[in-house]
Point group: C2
Chain length 379, copies 2
């Protein structure tokens, strides 16, 4: 079993977009890639069968915070890890729990040692340290696991962003020490990705990129974006980070975003994305389609018996009509949530697949300009 | 296109169980059969793909009351009927809406003409008459449609049951008049089944069976059972009705029931069943399995990594473990509802399929005795 490797196959001439292949012990991932979020070991409303057959997911996410609280590491270890527990045999990435814990403002306290917080389920108190988060992620068994970082709130000032970045770097050292001191639990290799922080400040981001790069990890992530800053700032910082992160390692932009965010950031050199948007917005009747954005709740679809998205290679999107899906939402039927989630995820996976094709054929930049306009259209 | 036909293939020697084939313009149905309930044109939490691949449903139900209110007959007609609307190309049966309307106690009024009631969605007032219910079911386009009957509450006295039965018979005449006066809307043949009523009174049930039989419909239904009467009474009345209904027509026992109810009533001569129990109980974490009943919420399954039901030929039941499904219920994940519903429906379809095999091989009565004991076991 081997450390994750990344083969850079194509680079676009007119942008920084790249096409590559990540190889893990659970198989290959064609990049750029979008990773559906399976918070507690399940992508909301979507079976593992549909993730494979319709969505064509190549890797999914699990959330350390949620999996630690429920079902807990004792269950996951006895199951033989998350792959065995949820029967997903392709790659899995787990986040570090940092983002969730910091979102629990009011009930958490940050110290040098780590973060104390209260469970959202029963109010019980817990402590996450870099060491503990490595241990938990060892128990979960993701192919890619993430460093425990502090994600400062959007709009943090320079002083806070600076201190926070330095804490993140000290925690990173502790993560690597613990990671290197502990063996893989389930016979395949786990890979630790560090995370760049530094808010919206270029000098901090540069420092952070250089510190992160010095770890020579098999891949690197950018955190702390899409947390409320204006889109142009997000793109500027993302671009800047890509310039200062190694070329030969996959770059993962955490928690981003809309379809057009993804296309823009692929153009800046990002290889991996995750976001709850396709499933969360889907459950709220918002569909991303090859022709633009649809609010399927809208009365205008009442008599539209055309498929949800004829151009999308997803069985559900072609099988069910807009009128039928609207009816299911109106009637509050469970099936509505599944169809909308499967459709949106399929669309995201299709989109990164198309991006890859255009990187390979060499017309990514012009294709992207057209697509961004089209995808933003409100139908 | 042709009227529904029923071929009686095997009769059990030691019980009144029968195996047959119903032929409709949307295909064949092997009997005895269980029909999943798709209230508003969707079986709750289960896609049409899963109904075919995992559940192996041969026919599903739609509810006239719900479909009339939402999406409404204008949408259904423009879609080309329910088969086109929900893309289910196997047979569909619609109930008459009677049962739902009578369940709205307090907001509905029964007169000779029909029943006035208020929508549970917006409180709007509506009138269902036998004629209107035939027209609505013509618009929905079920292969089998049901007569508009009055279903008296469980425990009704002789006087009420008698009056109610006579009203049901007068309404039946009006149903047939309207049905015969209106053409099929979508190019295939619809078939009207009358419904036996008469409460728990044998003389009324006999009268009703004879009246119903005189219509020479392609199939006959028994209503007004499993509405609160003791199980032995249900079996006694069911047995009695089977004795007084034609042998050569399929017999449909409406709204029944548990797996053991179904096995007992197959033994009495019933060919068709429907019930919300597999989906409703499934959504409440109660699983029917080949080994007995499971409350999957229970702590005892926390570390049980065995498949939900190894012996059941259903992909989901074999793919997901008890521990994982319990976790999904604890975490209130949508996927829990889908897996439990698909499992329970698959179990019901498997059960009637097994019953059929044992009728054909001739050991139904002894097999049934064993199975009823096994299926009732609390695991």
């Amino acid at each position: 079993m081997a450390t994750l490797s990344f083969e850079l196959q194509h680079k676009d001439q007119k942008s920084n977009a790249r096409a590559g292949v990540i190889t893990t012990d659970h198989g290959e991932i064609q990049t750029p890639i979008f990773m559906p979020v399976g918070t507690v070991g399940s992508v909301k409303g979507v079976s593992q069968q549909l993730l494979q057959s319709d969505v064509k997911a190549q890797i999914i996410l699990g959330n350390t915070y949620h999996l630690y609280l429920r079902p807990g590491t004792d269950v996951l270890e006895k199951a033989g890890g998350l792959h065995q527990f949820n029967h997903w045999d392709k790659p899995i990435l787990t986040d570090s729990g940092g983002y969730q814990v910091f979102s629990l403002a009011g009930t958490r306290k940050i110290k040098e040692e780590g973060v104390t917080f209260q469970s959202h389920i029963d109010g019980s108190k817990h402590l996450f340290t870099p060491e503990k988060v490595m241990d938990i992620q060892r128990s979960i068994g993701g192919d890619i696991i993430m460093a425990f970082d502090e994600c400062p709130p959007g709009g943090s000032d320079y002083g806070y962003a600076h201190k926070s970045m330095e804490l993140t770097h000290r925690w990173l050292d502790r993560c690597f020490t613990q990671f290197n001191a502990t063996p893989d639990k389930y016979g395949y290799t786990q890979n630790l990705f560090p995370i760049v922080q530094g808010g919206t400040f270029k000098d901090l981001r540069k420092q952070s990129c250089e510190y992160i790069a010095s770890k020579d990890a098999p891949g690197n992530a950018i955190g702390g974006l899409s947390v409320g800053e204006p889109e142009p700032v997000m793109y500027e910082i993302c671009d800047w980070c890509c310039q200062h992160l190694p070329q030969q390692k996959p770059r993962y932009l955490m928690g981003v975003g809309t379809p057009w965010n993804i296309l823009e950031c692929i153009g800046l050199g990002i290889d991996m994305f995750d976001c709850v948007m396709p499933t969360r917005n889907g459950r709220n009747a918002m569909l991303f389609t090859t022709q633009g954005v649809i609010n399927i709740d809208n009365k205008k679809w009442e008599f539209d018996f055309s498929p949800i998205d004829e151009a999308l290679p997803c069985e559900m999107s072609q099988y069910y009509s807009k009128s039928y899906l609207r009816h299911l939402f109106k009637a509050k039927e469970l099936l509505a949530l599944t169809i909308a989630s499967v459709h949106n995820l399929s669309f995201y996976l299709w989109l990164v697949g198309e991006a890859r094709k255009h990187i390979v054929t060499g017309d990514y930049a012009s294709w992207k300009e057209e697509m961004v306009l089209k995808l933003k259209t409100r139908l």
